[in-house]
Subunit: 331 residues, 2 copies
C-alpha cells in the first residue's frame, strides 16, 4: 500500500457517487414473511418513509398469476393491482418510482402488464433462475414495449455455472433492460465473491449504459457489508429494507445503507422513526433477522426454505439437530 | 478484472492459511455486559467448547487493579486470579492457550503478573489508548520478561491521528510483543478502512515476525465482514465470541468465523451446541447484539456508552430521541 492509495481510499468516504439509486423492497421482500398481508396503514407508512428518506424506488410486491396463486390465500401485494397501488401512493408527484417484481413462469405478463400510461407502476423487476433466462428476456421486452423500465434479476447466482452466467449477461446486454442485479438469494456470498461477480456484471454491461445492482440477504450477517462491496465494485442500484425485514435472515437494513451513503438527499431520521413506531411492534408477530438456522443454510449455499420451516416448527431452536440434518443431506 | 484474478480469488475459498489463530473472548468481552459475573458452569461450558472447536486461545477476563475496582462490585473474571482459572481449566493438557487482558493504567502489573511458571496464563493482551502507548509498552516488556506471550491492543484507532498510530506501530515493532491488534472499539470502521489499516499494521510489522490481529464490534453489522477483510489483508489473529456476545452490539460471532475458516481443525458443531444449550437461555437475562442505538454510535464513531445507558434506561426504544441527542451533541 502506498501513501497515495491510502489517501484515495480515505477520500472516498468524504465524497459520494450521485448515480447511486436505492430501492426499498420492504413491502415486497417483507411480504415473503407474511404472504403479502400487510395492512394499508403499514404500507402507507413505508411509502411516506421512502418519500422523506429520499429513496429512489419502492417495490410493493409481485405481479403474480392468479391462475397459479389463489387470491384468497395471499394479501393484495402478491398481485399489485392498480387500485391497491393508487390507494397507497395517491396522486402526489415527486415520490419514489413504483417497482413491482414479476417472476418468470409465475406471471401472466402479456395480460397483467398494462400499457404504462394506464399504470401507476414505473418499473418491473423481472426475476428468474438461470434456466428461465429466455422467458425473463421476453418479459423484459414486453415490459419495455409497453413503456416501463425493466430490470433483470438473476436469482441464486451462487448455484449457477459461471459460463452460463456470462452467457446470460451477454443476452441482458443486448436486451432493452435498464440493468441487471446481482442477487445473493441464499445469503451465501462472501465479500470477494461479491467483488468478483459485481465486476463481471459491470464488465458485461460496459458500453450499454445499463446499471448493475445488488440484492443481498443477511444469513451470514453480510448483507450490508456485501452491499458496500458491490458499491465499491461499481454497482449503482442497491436494495434494502427497513430494519432489514425480509424472508429468513432478512436483507440489507435501509437505516445502515442510508447511514453509509453520503448523498445529502438521503435522510436516516425518518427511517429510524418508522422502525420505532411501526417495525418494533411488528416484531411481536413476525420473525425475521439473523439466526443460526439461516446461517447454516447460508454457509451451505442452500435455499433457506428448510430453515424457514424449522423456525416455524415447534422446535425453532434445535440448532444442532438441524445442522446434522443439513450436513448429512444428500445433495 | 482478468480471468486469472477471478480464478485466484475463487481458489482462496478452497484453500486455507494454517497461520490463522482464533481467540475466543466470550468470557472477557461478554463480561463487559454483566460486570464479569459469569457462573463457573458457564465458563466451563465455554472452555469445553473452545477445546472441541479447535480454538487457539481463550480469554477469560481482565487483570484489573483491586485498588481501582472494588472486588465486591465485580465477578472474579475482572481479576482472573490463578485459583479461579485453574478451577475452570484443570490440568488437562492440549486445550487452548489462556489469555487475559490487562488495561494500561488499570493494572498493577509489576505485582499482578506472576512469573509465568507460577501461572496458568499463557498470554497477556495489553490494551491501551493512543496516549497510553509508553505505559502499555512497559507492561508488554514486564510480561515478556516474566515469560509470557504479550499482544499489543491499540484501542479506538478510529479516533486516533494516523501519524500517531504509525509511530505507535513503529514502537511495537521494536518491542518484545508477539503482535499487534487492530481494534475497532466503536464498531465504526467500514471494510476499506479495515483493509487500509490492516495493511498499514502488516507493513509496520514486516520483518519482525510479529502477527497482526483484528478485533471488531458489530454496531454496523460489520464485525464478521470486517474480520474477513482483515484476514484477506493479512491478519492472522482473529477475535470472536460465541453467538457474538459482547459489549453493546457485540463481536464477530465465533460460529460464523469458524464456518468461514477452512482449516479442518476448526469445528462449528460444538459452538452451535453451546449456543443452543447455554446462550439462548442467557439471552433472557442479558442484552447484546445489533440494535439501532449501537448503529447510531457506530455511524458517528462514538464510544457506545451513551447507547448502553439508553438501552438500560426505561426508554430503550426511543431511537429518534437518541439520534437527535447524538447528532446535536457538541463534540
Amino acid at each position: 500500500m502506498t501513501e497515495d492509495k491510502t489517501e484515495d481510499a480515505h477520500a472516498r468516504w468524504i465524497d459520494y457517487r450521485p448515480e447511486i439509486k436505492v430501492l426499498d423492497c420492504t413491502i415486497r421482500d417483507g411480504g415473503l414473511v407474511n404472504d403479502h398481508m400487510f395492512e394499508d396503514d403499514l404500507v402507507r407508512a413505508v411509502y411516506r418513509t421512502c418519500v422523506e428518506a429520499g429513496v429512489d424506488y419502492i417495490e410493493l410486491g409481485y405481479k403474480a398469476s392468479k391462475r397459479i396463486f389463489a387470491p384468497d390465500k395471499f394479501g393484495v401485494w402478491k398481485f399489485c393491482e392498480e387500485d391497491d397501488i393508487r390507494r397507497i401512493v395517491g396522486d402526489e408527484p415527486g415520490g419514489p418510482k413504483i417497482a413491482v417484481m414479476a417472476d418468470a413462469e409465475r406471471t401472466d405478463y402479456h395480460e397483467a402488464f398494462l400499457p404504462s400510461e394506464q399504470s401507476a407502476i414505473d418499473c418491473y423487476r423481472v426475476a428468474c433462475y438461470i434456466h428461465q433466462v429466455p422467458t425473463a428476456l421476453d418479459m423484459v421486452k414486453d415490459a419495455c414495449d409497453k413503456g416501463y423500465e425493466a430490470m433483470f434479476q438473476l436469482m441464486a447466482v451462487s448455484t449457477a455455472n459461471e459460463s452460463d452466467v456470462r452467457r446470460a449477461l451477454a443476452l441482458v446486454a443486448e436486451s432493452p433492460a435498464a440493468g441487471v442485479y446481482l442477487v445473493d438469494s441464499f445469503g451465501s456470498l462472501y465479500s470477494e465473491q461479491v467483488r468478483d461477480l459485481t465486476q463481471m456484471y459491470v464488465k458485461a454491461m460496459e458500453g450499454t449504459g445499463k446499471d448493475v445492482g445488488f440484492h443481498g440477504h443477511n444469513n451470514l450477517q453480510l448483507a450490508f457489508a456485501n452491499t458496500i462491496e458491490a458499491i465499491v465494485s461499481g454497482a449503482n442500484r442497491l436494495d434494502a429494507t427497513i430494519n432489514g425485514i425480509g424472508r429468513g435472515a432478512g436483507n440489507c437494513p435501509l437505516e445502515l445503507l442510508i447511514g453509509f451513503l453520503h448523498n445529502p438527499k438521503f435522510k436516516m431520521r425518518p427511517v429510524l422513526q418508522t422502525i420505532e413506531e411501526v417495525f418494533l411492534p411488528l416484531r411481536e408477530t413476525l420473525d425475521w433477522g439473523y439466526s443460526i438456522p439461516y446461517a447454516i443454510t447460508g454457509k451451505l449455499n442452500q435455499h433457506p426454505r428448510a430453515a424457514i420451516a424449522m423456525r416455524a416448527s415447534d422446535r425453532p431452536d434445535a440448532y444442532v439437530e438441524f445442522y446434522d440434518q443439513m450436513i448429512n443431506e444428500d445433495s
